[in-house]
């Protein structure tokens, strides 16, 4: 994460904020680092990133992702559905058709088709809930407020923590505390009673494993986190493991694999552009997106996000240049060592002409050229729970 924080870490920025669980993390021997404007745990004493990574793949890990922005949009008075219709003008996906308890991955776009942020939209019933990246949340709020009608209320739930419980045993551990939550399927969500109040549980995550994201009021989150890690199946895990897990899962990280200079077609996220809205348009960035889709169809797309499997053990990091023979064809945007595959993996934007499975390329790292092969994403198969 050494460079993940630089965008938020410039001199003169505001002092780092503390998470609601700050002292909880420190009591468990967390090493805290600056990230997205917060002091956040990168790893905990006793294990290390690889141990936390492997535990997540085998059992269940608790991640604190309270830096992320939890926002809500409420319909204008006496105008049901107005929030969904208004939000749909800023996203390439359908929101008006999203049923209560369902969630969808989507993108905030610029007029030129660049990605302002990637986010989750949930129809909670009373409102639309958005979960946005921590480093982008203030810009996202400004963008939403600028484009949404004044009658649509935007609330920032900054007094709520967000925990991610991820791994094949997450559903067993959560069911013990919150009976019924295990019945949710991937990309559905609901309100559950816990303690004297309620928590909002989504079956989603950023590791490729089955798991949940749980929104809890900051006054209750310490007790809730304690109850989760009291289960021997659950261990806390930090940002380091979160990053290596999401890289294996082929999931882009905003600020690295996605920026406002990158469009969703080049980012291989065209699944987030709904078929219907390709025809109807009516969202910011539509013209640019249609041009990129046309480029893709006639083989003139300039760049494409791909996965690269490296030979040997030396990792290639963000910024490393990708070559086909002597020609530079791209740049690594995320890279590291995969604990699961025991070899280095990377995501890169390369000349789309080379973006075919099995293409043999090279990555320049210091004075060496590392052999790399274009590989389908994810590197490690997703294990989402879609129903039994």
């Amino acid at each position: 994460m050494s460079d993940a924080d630089t965008i938020d870490d410039l001199p003169g920025e505001l002092p780092l904020a503390k998470l609601p669980l700050d002292s909880w993390h420190r009591a468990r021997g967390a090493r805290m680092v600056p990230f997205a404007g917060y002091e956040m745990p990168i790893q905990y004493e006793g294990g290390g990133i690889v141990a936390e990574h492997n535990w997540t793949r085998e059992s269940a890990s608790l991640f604190d992702v309270s830096h992320m922005g939890q926002l809500a949009l409420k319909d204008a008075p006496d105008d049901p559905g107005s929030a969904a219709r208004a939000l749909e003008k800023l996203l390439p996906g359908l929101v008006t058709s999203l049923k209560p308890g369902r969630m969808r991955y989507s993108l905030l776009l610029t007029e030129a088709g660049g990605v302002i942020d990637d986010l989750m939209v949930t129809n909670t019933g009373p409102h639309l809930a958005l979960v946005v990246n921590g480093a982008c949340k203030w810009d996202d709020i400004a963008h939403l407020r600028e484009h949404l009608p004044d009658e649509i209320t935007l609330t920032h739930f900054d007094d709520f923590a967000l925990l991610a419980l991820q791994g094949p045993k997450a559903h067993e551990a959560l069911a013990k505390l919150v009976p019924g939550a295990e019945a949710l399927t991937f990309m559905t969500a609901g309100l559950f009673a816990w303690g004297s109040g309620h928590i909002w549980v989504s079956r989603a995550g950023y590791t490729g494993e089955d798991g949940f994201e749980i929104s809890v009021h900051e006054k209750d989150v310490g007790a809730f986190a304690d109850a989760l890690v009291a289960d021997e199946r659950v261990m806390p895990a930090g940002l380091g493991a979160r990053d290596s897990l999401r890289l294996e899962a082929g999931l882009p990280l905003y600020g690295h694999d996605l920026t406002n200079n990158i469009d969703p077609v080049s980012a291989d996220l065209a699944f987030a552009i709904s078929k219907k809205r390709r025809d109807t348009g009516g969202y910011l960035g539509h013209q640019a997106i249609m041009s990129r889709l046309a480029d893709e169809a006639d083989g003139t797309l300039a760049l494409r996000r791909v996965g690269l499997l490296l030979d040997g053990r030396m990792p290639a990091r963000e910024g490393a240049e990708v070559f086909a023979g002597d020609t530079k064809i791209g740049t690594v945007t995320s890279g590291g060592f995969s604990p699961t595959l025991q070899r280095p993996i990377a995501m890169a934007y390369i000349d789309a002409a080379y973006a075919r499975e099995g293409a043999a390329l090279e990555i320049a790292v210091r004075s060496k050229r590392l052999a790399a092969t274009v590989s389908p994403l994810p590197f490690v198969p997703h294990r989402y729970f879609r129903g039994s």
């Binding site: 050494s2 790893q43 690889v50 030396m314 590291g336 280095p344």
Partner: protein, 123 residues
């Protein structure tokens, strides 16, 4: 055999006219799980404070600097198959390379064990 330390967390053992170099337990603890070590080539001339090796942890690449001036005459080939030796035995089996001592007077700029311990305690 005397052992010296740098403020970049390298250790250096001196025996006759050869020095063995590695990174300290404190350094490996900070770096976390080490997955690859790029060692210098035998015969490479090193300048005091110049780049000598690179340690790759799961998260990041970190430079290892030459504590003194000299020439590499042996590297620890065990690290090729087992880079985790740097985590499990940083100050013994996880040594990086051996080098000649180009200028023995450079050694007096380095810390001894007590001074290094005090330096780390202050971090």
């Amino acid at each position: 055999m005397p052992r010296y330390f740098t403020d970049e967390h390298e250790w250096i053992d001196v025996e006759d006219d050869t020095a063995t170099v590695g990174i300290t337990d404190y350094a490996q603890e900070q770096l976390g799980d080490i997955v690859f070590v790029e060692l210098p080539e035998v015969g490479k001339a090193l300048d005091k404070g110049g780049d000598a090796a690179v340690v790759e942890s799961v998260k990041a690449a970190s430079d290892v600097y030459a504590p003194i001036t000299g020439e590499v005459n042996e590297v620890n080939e065990s690290l090729e198959d087992e880079p985790a030796l740097v985590n499990t035995s940083p100050e013994e089996d996880g040594w990086f390379f051996r080098m000649t001592i180009g200028d023995a007077s450079e050694l007096k700029d380095l810390m001894d064990e007590a001074a290094y311990k005090e330096f780390v305690d202050g971090l």
